[in-house]
């Protein structure tokens, strides 16, 4: 007599085989037309695709400029020292009347 795990293995095997034995379905006659209808309603990808690509190119071009500006700021800050705005704010809040930058 088989034990529970063996019987379960057998059941599992049969269920898995049944899954694999399924026939591949085929689309109905109007299905493709309905998909194409939706895609035509969505319109060509060209505008969206090119727009996204153009935005990507623009972003990358700006990224170079952004890095360049960041480097200049870093050099400037290293040579002129940092201004701690939090300290300035604390000073202002502590004594707004006598606050002078």
């Amino acid at each position: 007599m088989k034990g529970r795990p063996q019987m379960l293995d057998e059941l599992e095997k049969r269920l898995f085989s049944a899954y694999r034995a399924q026939e591949d379905p085929t689309p109905g006659p109007l299905w493709r037309e309905s998909v194409m209808g939706d895609l035509r309603r969505l319109g060509p990808l060209a505008i969206e695709g090119n727009g996204a690509a153009a935005f990507g190119r623009l972003a990358w071009r700006f990224s170079e400029a952004a890095v360049f500006v960041a480097l200049i700021l870093l050099v400037y800050m290293l040579s002129n020292g940092f201004v701690d705005y939090q300290d300035l704010a604390m000073q202002y809040l502590a004594n707004p009347i006598d606050f002078i930058i």
Partner: protein, 201 residues
């Protein structure tokens, strides 16, 4: 559809579609609909198959500009189809108020009666393939969408872990762990079905 386009490679058709020729996509649809129906047909109920396949192709169309020509279009499309099924189940699990199983009340009763019979497991061999499919479907509906997706790929379709990981967009380790756990859960469900019914009858 023009005969000249149908002779083009996938890459050339994709190039045309991205260039604004929506109708060229129909050639991709024609080439791959059987494959996509094969993937989706095993994963979702037949009543929702066409809708999910429709959704997968619309997604593919919209995502076409992001398709990188590193891999095959076929694999890229399969990934979209698998994920469409995964999303289908996630959405369906959210709407739990719907009866989850496509089994009719009568079928469920019959399965319950079979389960109550201790000889059910041995009897499963004689059960029709349709009934086995229904029973598997019933048990799988008790799993999460993630467990279901990984179980189907790794155990039911016997795909390599690496391929399953690519299709799901998960790491191989995650697929291995999840597949092992989901199979354990499935076995527990199948085991519990007969044990519980057998104990109460």
């Amino acid at each position: 559809m023009g005969g000249s386009v149908s002779n083009l490679s996938d890459e050339e058709i994709i190039h045309r579609v991205i260039g604004g020729d929506v109708d060229a996509f129909e050639h991709l649809l024609e080439r791959y609909e059987t494959r996509v129906f094969g993937i989706i047909g095993r994963r979702v109920p037949r009543t929702d198959l066409e809708e999910v396949a429709h959704d997968a192709f619309v997604r593919a169309y919209i995502s076409l500009p992001t398709y990188e020509r590193k891999g095959e279009f076929r694999s890229w499309l399969s990934k979209i189809a698998v994920r469409a099924c995964y999303d289908y189940w996630r959405e369906r699990y959210k709407r739990r108020e719907q009866p989850m199983s496509s089994l009719s009340e009568e079928q469920l009763k019959r399965l319950d009666r079979r389960a109550a019979d201790q000889s059910m497991r041995a009897d499963a061999g004689r059960a029709s393939s349709r009934e086995a499919r229904d029973l598997l479907e019933w048990a799988m509906e008790k799993l999460s969408a993630e467990d279901r997706a990984v179980l189907e790929l790794v155990y039911l379709e016997e795909r390599p872990v690496k391929e399953a990981a690519e299709l799901l967009g998960w790491s191989s380790v995650n697929v291995k762990v999840r597949a092992y756990r989901s199979r354990k859960k499935l076995r527990a469900i199948l085991d519990g079905l007969t044990a519980e019914k057998g104990g109460t009858s």
